[in-house]
Amino acid sequence: MRVTLSVNGKPATIDVEPRRTLADALREDLGLTGTHLGCEHGVCGACTVMLDGLPVRACLVLAVQAEGASLLTVEGLAGEDGALHPLQQSFTEHHALQCGFCTPGMLISALDLLNRIPNPTRAEIRSEMSGNICRCTGYNSITDAILAAARSLTQKD
């Protein structure tokens, strides 16, 4: 089936079997391997992407369901000039990533969190981010990073 969609602001058309997941379409058909697969059953959150402004597990969405949708993946976070998004910058400053495998999903979930709650508390961050598994950091540095990014983003506004 032909699917027309927008990925990171650019139009894209793919031809996929109805059973193909959005994650596989992004990775294999569009070459956007920044979206990672950690469990393929919707628990770990590594494949989280934004679909029309809301976070989805790309392993649980079929590519055909994204017809006409606008997607944001980790590749779309930094500026055209390569400048990091404040969340990305904060993640490196707070050592909120080790192996980097959960990071794309963490960043997208964190972006969604800050879209909804611009000034979250630590407890809110812990609760909101509990749909994304990180096996390396123990989460405290991720909480620090999101808190600091929230501050820097709200100060800019």
Partner: protein, 782 residues
């Protein structure tokens, strides 16, 4: 041994600073290069048919319908060569050890649910999985046994009718006599829960056999690429010179990726059978939970005697480790039992020790290395004994530990298992942890709550010694045909003065590109940003055993330091000739040559490197062109890292729910190269330890079916469960070139003991079995 105080370096050194990691930018923008990201033209995908039964004879495998399907390109089973003639046999010279032959694809018998039987090759993973459904296997069920402490109805291997693959006794002093004279004798049976490392990236591999020159390239998410190349050459009858193993970015390992698996060998063999076609296998989580290595399924029967003042007089133990269906390659079934018996007494002085350890095969996924190897369980056992002895003697759990610690005055301390402890700073760790924890305030609050209806609180403590960076003497125990004591590193100053390092270390998130660059930058005297580190490629680095045993900062870091110093010497010798100034008056710093006492540099490293590579006419007599050095390092023994964790929790007595209130860890990491990375290792390891203590449990039913086969059942803790942590440091430099102690695993050692101890303290119930779940606590309260 003097403690290093203050973390920040003076001057411009990068060691000691939380420099920006070299890995971060590519990971943050989605441009990491993990194995599954590799997209070679013409790639074919593999899916494995896995046994649905835990123990069965295979009567027949019928692939005829699958072969007829036009979307199936090829099917391979274990009945034919090369698969049939090769098996994974982990070797050890220990007297009682029984080898097991693990097939690449099982063909006569399956020994655990999830064992690979056939491989289907197709143009994508979906079609390969479609092909699996067309294969018919006729099984004849055999009785399955998944418990290592029950009598098997049917042995797994004909060579071991009782399923025991290894037994070893550690003995020192006279336990019988000492127990007879003890004031208090404690007897406990303690059981720890089966878990898996579960890196967020599952296993993956891409193999390509190039028919033009007969070379095999294998991209693998492995922790041990050099060992993999060595093993593949032997197993496939190939020259090592024609095999290149590359571990690109790897999404976590934790030991799970330190084994060579049948699937790895299978895809390499398939690649050779399909020359020129890249063969790709990317494991999914269901496969991972079923068939990647498991760990920590142990039982400890312990008897310990104490004198009236709390001195540990004797320790007698019988340790059984469930090692799964095969002796894990190449580490052997001894990996967990030998570690458990070797370090059971932990940081405590002990003369009389008698410990029998055994490895028992069962119909479950093979047990392998997992961060902390056995010690999360053995520390749980030892600390449970300490807590109970304190209670019986009317001492505090803190005082009894103080009474028995190996101290600085005992160093070097020969443990009853002949391992040599070079640390002895356990009491200092405990003191600092108590200060950060604020025990007095806790005890006051505990007392206050006792008179109210508020949830009871308790605290637990775990003291441990982690043997890190094992050199050739310390790694002798398992008597494998290789000694993992050394690594190599090559440091090269390029003609423009920048530096490229080819290191034998590997990284699965530990940031080794960063750590090695910091070491080399300071070793030579150049800016951190001018050093690039290349790792994980057997064609680039000379040798490295890889990531395990918290060894790489000590051993790989030591090799990097030694190589850098040799290069620095040559730079200074050449500068001395060019400037006609005595070498003792020259300093190499920030990539420039300075004369001592002068304010302006005389030469840049780039100018010297240019001479070294491009103007041999200016080199002194006898000096070779180039600026490069390769050195090995082996610390011979190891570096013990002391650690203490203290945690408190409250229990909802109506549900058994546990809420962690506070968590403190103090470790002696020796000299800290990068404080952010060190803290990250400790925090991540504690989180994994808490997962194992409270949530993570791989459970087989009586027929050997894994009933925790998804992440909805196997519960990895999230940001909702893991507490804030307070991490403190001591820095007593170890006896190696950098003064470092390994820090990768220690964090996992404490949580079992802390949680069990804290629940016991809060509720007065003994915890004998892990994990400490809500349900278990609730039952304990009834």
């Amino acid at each position: 041994m003097t403690e290093i105080t203050g973390v920040d370096p003076k001057g411009n050194e990068s060691v000691g600073r939380a420099v920006q990691r070299k890995e971060d930018y590519r990971f943050l923008i989605g441009r990491g290069h993990y194995v599954s990201d590799l997209r070679l033209p013409g790639t074919r995908h593999v899916a494995f048919l896995r046994s649905p039964l835990a123990h069965a004879k295979i009567n027949s495998i019928d692939i005829s319908s699958a072969l007829e399907a036009d979307f199936v390109e090829a099917i391979f089973t274990g009945e034919s060569d090369p698969f049939k003639s090769v098996s994974l046999i982990a070797r050890s010279a220990l007297p009682s050890y029984i080898e097991t032959a693990q097939p690449i694809l099982a063909w006569d018998k399956v020994r655990f649910s999830g064992e690979p039987i056939a491989a289907v090759v197709a143009t994508d993973r979906y079609l390969a999985e479609d092909g699996l459904e067309l294969i018919e296997v006729e099984y004849e069920r055999l009785p399955a046994n998944v418990s290592a402490w029950s009598t098997p109805a049917e042995p797994l291997h004909k060579e071991a009718l009782d399923n025991v693959l290894l037994e070893r006794r550690f003995q020192s002093g006279d336990v019988k006599d000492a127990l007879a004279g003890a004031e208090v004798v404690i007897e406990r049976e303690l059981i720890s829960n089966r878990q898996g490392g579960n890196p967020l990236e599952c296993r993956a591999g891409v193999a390509l056999f190039e028919p033009g020159d007969g070379t095999l390239q294998f991209w693998s998410g492995t922790q041990v690429p050099h060992l993999v190349r060595n093993a593949l050459a032997e197993l496939m009858g190939m020259s090592e010179a024609k095999i290149r193993v590359v571990a690109p970015d790897v999404g976590g390992g934790f030991g799970t990726k330190a084994a060579l698996y049948p699937e790895d060998v299978a895809i390499c063999m398939i690649a050779r059978l399909m020359p020129g076609t890249p063969i790709k296998w990317v494991e999914d989580r269901a496969e991972h939970l079923l068939s990647a290595t498991h760990a920590r399924d142990h039982r400890y029967l312990v008897t310990a005697g104490f004198s009236s003042d709390g001195t540990l007089l004797a320790l007698k133990a019988d340790v059984t480790c469930n090692v799964g269906a095969y002796s894990v390659y190449p580490w052997t079934a001894g990996i967990e039992p030998l570690m458990a018996g070797g370090l059971l007494s932990g940081p405590y002085r002990l003369e009389n020790y008698d410990c029998m350890v055994r490895a028992v095969a069962t119909n479950s996924s093979p047990s392998g290395p997992y961060r902390g190897v056995a010690r999360p369980a053995s520390v749980f056992a030892m600390e449970a004994i300490m807590d109970e002895a304190a209670r019986r003697l009317g001492m505090s759990t803190i005082d009894i530990r103080r009474k028995n610690f190996i101290g600085p005055q005992d160093i070097p301390y020969k443990m009853p298992t002949r391992l040599v402890d070079d640390s002895g700073h356990y009491e200092r760790c405990l003191d600092k942890a108590l200060e950060l924890f604020d025990l007095d305030q806790f005890l006051e609050e505990q007392q206050r709550r006792r008179g109210t209806n508020e949830p009871p609180i308790g605290f637990g403590v775990a003291c441990y010694n982690e043997l890190t960076g094992l050199g050739r003497a310390a790694s002798a125990g398992p008597r494998m045909p290789f000694r993992t004591g050394h690594d190599a590193c090559t440091v090269k100053v390029n003609p423009d003065g920048t530096v490229t390092v080819f290191s034998g270390v590997t990284s699965q998130g530990q940031g080794l590109e960063t750590t090695v660059a910091q070491i080399v930058a300071d070793g030579i005297g150049v800016d951190y940003d001018d050093v690039q580190v290349r790792i994980g490629n057997t064609d680039e680095s000379l040798w490295g055993f890889g990531a395990f045993s918290s060894r790489q900062a000590v051993i790989g870091g030591g090799a990097a330091q030694l190589s850098a110093l040799v290069v620095r010497d040559k730079v200074i010798r050449l500068a001395s000739e060019l400037l006609e100034i005595d070498i003792n008056d020259l300093i190499l710093r920030d990539g420039k040559i300075w004369v001592a006492g002068e304010v302006e540099p005389r030469l840049s490293l780039a100018e010297i490197a240019r001479v070294a590579y491009l103007e041999s006419n200016r080199l002194p007599d006898g000096m070779e062109p180039g600026l490069e050095a390769t050195r090995f390092y082996d610390p011979i023994r190891g570096a013990f890292a002391a650690g203490v964790q203290i945690g408190s929790l409250e229990v909802d007595v109506s549900t058994g729910e546990i809420r962690i209130l506070k968590w403190v860890c103090v470790e002696d990491a020796g000299r800290v190269i990068n404080p952010a990375i060190v803290d990250g290792q400790i925090a991540g390891a504690i989180a994994q330890g808490i997962g194992g203590a409270m949530y993570e449990h791989l459970i087989y039913d009586g027929d050997g079916n894994l009933s925790t086969g998804t992440l909805m059942d196997y519960l990895i803790p999230t940001s909702g469960e893991i507490p804030e942590m307070i991490i403190g440091h001591l820095q007593f430099p170890a006896d190696n070139p950098l003064g470092v102690r390994g820090v990768g695993e220690g964090g996992t050692l404490g949580p079992n003991a802390v949680i069990a101890g804290a629940v016991a303290d809060a509720l007065g119930i003994l915890v004998d079995q892990l994990p400490v779940t809500e349900g278990a606590v609730w039952e304990g309260l009834q």
